[in-house]
Amino acid sequence: MLHYAIIVSYLLLSLALVLGFIRLVRGPSLADRVVALELLASLTVGFIGVSVIYSGRAPFLDVAMVLALTAFLAAVAFARYLEKGGQRSDH
């Protein structure tokens, strides 16, 4: 039972990663890409969670924790760059 749930979760998360990646490539603005990147980081946290259940190795959860924090730092840094030095999109 759990085995099928893990397979279905992997499928859904992989599809979600592909969809998020399409937005990351298409843009159109840098802020949209930052949002897509953050979604990808969040998806990876979920992926690691499912992978922890699948492999039975709980220490992998530390990776998810660090990833969640660094994704936040990256988002804040990108936003600061956009606000202070990024190119305006309307002129």
Binding site: M1, L2, Y4, A5, I6, V8, S9, Y10, L12, L13, L15, A16, L17, V18, L19, G20, I22, R23, S29, L30, A31, D32, V34, V35, A36, E38, L39, S42, L43, V45, G46, G49, V50, V52, I53, A58, L61, D62, A64, M65, A68, L69, A71, F72, A75, V76, F78, A79, R80, L82, E83, G86, Q87, R88, S89, D90, H91
Partner: protein, 131 residues
Amino acid sequence: MIIEWLTGFTIVVGSGFMLVAALGVLRMPDLLTRMHATTKAGVLGAGLIMIGVALHFASGPVLAKAVAIIAFLILTAPVAAHVIGRAGYFMGLSLWEKTTVDELKGRYDEATHTLTSPPDTDTPPDGQGRA
């Protein structure tokens, strides 16, 4: 047995929410609506998967880590969405054409990077918040 069903249920539902978040980021028309999709559905999905992990292992350290991850996500996602949305607005991103309310319209001074208060409210004279 029941734990197994619950674990499977939470990880499948969490993955489903993350798929909804990815669909939203792909299909929504502008930056703010895209963030609206990813922030809430993404955090809910990751949180549900972490609940599934905690249920599956049912041990103290794993529970602590799962709770810590959920707490980080819930604490950081609104802040990140706020700063990105703010930066996007100040970058001059165009809103969706069907947007009805833009309360900051005309109040942002691009040269000084400040926002002025609306004239019809009783804010103090020094209410010019730094943008």
